[in-house]
């Protein structure tokens, strides 16, 4: 079966307009990816990893510098008309639309760009507004919506045209728990209903990727570091022990990474609470006592200590050596 999305050695370099604006930036450096039809695929990575750049190429808004990208079997560079008929995209924090129009009018307007008959479009809009709990807002002007409501409207805009493939670029960014949950549940449901629907979801919320995605690619600095199911990715760190320490403020952390048995180490200082969180990937649990001694010798008190199950962030730390921002 033809994949929904395929990229081959995809590279994208951005050159500044003027020399004084800085150096060229390689946003994507030889990305190879294959997403099958019917997948809910996640792309996980920190800010600036290249997630949005990849999505822009796949949604025909950007050309690759080198390499190829295919969506529904069509080349995004040369067959973009065919690609556009089959896709849609929703971004987090979108402010598109017109404040003067009502929710229903905005949504209807966008359906017209996809050739939907008004009758069909309006019926589907009503159904989706109901599904997202926005039925009572359909005649409200868009500018009167809250952030969560607006994002729900954006999500409806993306799905109402019933695309074969939808790109979701951090769709729950900045939303509260309820709004995020509604959107996630909808996405899962949508993919399940038909096996020719595909979702490519980018996020840097690891829990979201873990919960929703059948497969995840981890990307950083424009490169795919790993691509597998969440379970298999976590198995990459299963042989290692994850240790989390909460201490009072620890000033000197230099010696901690060189303790025998410590594979990787990150920390977060919280000036407000005067606490430090330390996170270790250990090759050998024997290192625990040395770590505790080093923390105490550093003048800090240990407030909490626990071994944790590996998460996607642990996978990322193992692969890259830094956490998510």
């Amino acid at each position: 079966m033809q994949p929904a999305v395929e990229t081959k050695a995809l590279t994208r370099v951005f050159h500044p307009k003027k020399k004084k604006e800085g150096k060229s930036v390689t946003a994507l450096a030889g990305v190879d990816l294959r997403i099958e039809q019917g997948e809910l695929f996640g792309l996980l990575g920190p800010n600036g990893a290249g997630k949005t750049t990849l999505l822009k190429i796949l949604s025909t808004l950007l050309l690759p510098t080198t390499g190829k990208a295919y969506v529904a079997g069509y080349d995004v560079a040369t067959q973009f008309h065919a690609v556009r008929k089959r896709i849609n995209m929703v971004s987090g924090g979108e402010i598109s639309g017109y404040g003067l129009l009502t929710v229903k009018e905005n949504l209807w307007m966008f359906t017209q760009f996809y050739g939907m008959k008004s009758q069909v479009a309006l019926k589907r809009i009503d159904e989706m507004l109901e599904q997202f709990g926005l039925a009572d807002k359909k005649n409200e002007k868009v500018r009167a919506l809250s952030t969560g409501q607006r994002q729900k409207m954006n999500v409806i805009r993306g799905f109402v045209t019933d695309p074969e493939i939808i790109f979701l670029d951090e769709p729950t960014l900045g939303l509260d728990v309820n709004a995020s949950r509604t959107i996630r549940e909808f996405i899962v449901d949508w993919v399940k209903k038909r096996n020719d629907r595909t979702v490519l979801l980018t996020t840097h919320y690891m829990a979201e990727a873990d919960q929703l995605c059948g497969r995840i690619a981890i990307i950083d600095d424009g490169r795919i570091l790993a691509c597998d199911t969440p379970e298999n990715l976590k198995k990459m760190v299963k042989t290692s022990t994850m240790l989390k320490l909460d201490t009072t403020h620890l000033g000197n952390k230099q010696g901690l990474s060189s303790i025998k048995g410590v594979e990787k180490f990150t920390f977060t200082d919280n000036p407000e609470s005067n606490m430090t969180s330390l996170r270790f990937v250990l090759e050998d649990e024997v290192a625990v006592s040395d770590i505790v001694s080093a923390v105490i010798a550093g003048g800090a008190k240990i407030l909490g200590l626990r071994k944790t199950e590996p998460t996607l962030e642990d996978v990322f730390i193992k692969l890259v050596g830094k956490g998510f921002e």
């Binding site: 025909t60 009018e105 966008f110």
Partner: protein, 274 residues
């Protein structure tokens, strides 16, 4: 869901025109601004001609020029540079992702803005005629209609070509539009016969559809002024305008495609705050 290419693009025109039309009805303050206030600039020029004791036809020229500025401004600000605003608000990328022609999008903007534009133009003409007691010759209505339509199609085609700049540029294109406003008024002879610029300048300015369109309309409304102030015979001007229609529509398609490709290559297609 799938429709023919033509139907999809016609729906796109309708869809993009809709916010313009509805927006205008929901914010009716534009009626005052578009109807009463533009007349003031026109009145100033009319009075200066009166002060200089110019022939009566010149006041009519000014009223006509003032009416036509409505269409020029709609092309420049309501269509071409509107893409700049769409880019800044994030709508542009949604439009560009959709399976529609860019010309449909721009046509929708133009059609949507036509209500306000037509009202502005008509108000300028009617009020100007009443206040300054202008008499217009309407003995060739078919020719008037033909010249007007050819001018509009060519003008909007040219506007689509300008719009393509906005796919690549940001504020630079906006400032270019700003820069072009007065020079076009000057070169196209909005408020005086373009013949006054000299033959070579007038020929050069004829590439802007509104130059010959205005000149032809003046000659039709004021047949007695043809010899003294008309640039070219009306028939020739109409022929050139029809040629410009075809030329600009083709050029705009080429330009839109090229600029979009360039924007996608350089990454500036959806780059805000350039």
């Amino acid at each position: 869901m799938s429709d023919t290419w033509l139907m999809t693009n016609l729906r796109a025109v309708k869809g993009r025109a809709y916010p313009r039309i509805i927006g205008a009805s929901r914010e009716p303050s534009w009626i005052f601004f578009e109807v009463a206030l533009p007349l003031l600039t026109v009145a100033a020029y009319a009075y200066i001609y009166k002060f200089m004791e110019a022939p009566a036809a010149f006041v009519g020229f000014v009223i006509l020029g003032g009416a036509m500025t409505a269409f020029w401004l709609n092309v420049l600000w309501g269509m071409a540079s509107q893409l700049y605003w769409e880019k800044e608000t994030g709508n542009l990328q949604l439009y560009l992702m959709a399976p529609i022609s860019r010309m449909s999008l721009l046509a929708g903007m133009a059609v949507g803005g036509l209500m306000g534009t037509t009202m502005r133009a008509a108000a300028t003409m009617i009020i100007g005629i009443c206040v300054f007691s202008i008499t217009l010759d309407l003995s060739e209505p078919l020719m008037l209609f033909a010249v007007f339509m050819a001018t509009m199609i060519a003008l909007y085609g040219m506007g689509m070509m300008f719009a393509s700049l906005y796919l690549l540029l940001g504020r630079e294109a906006w400032h270019m539009s700003n820069l072009m406003t007065e020079p076009i008024y000057l070169a196209s002879g909005f408020y005086f016969p373009v013949k006054a610029l000299g033959a070579y300048a007038a020929v050069g300015a004829s590439v802007i559809p509104i130059t010959l369109g205005l000149d032809a309309l003046r000659q039709l409304f004021y047949p007695s002024s043809r010899e003294a102030y008309g640039f070219l015979p009306i028939e020739i001007e109409l022929l050139v305008l029809v040629g410009l229609c075809g030329l600009f529509l083709v050029l705009s398609k080429i330009s839109l495609d090229y600029m979009e490709k360039l924007g996608k290559s350089t990454g500036r297609l959806t780059l805000r705050w350039q």
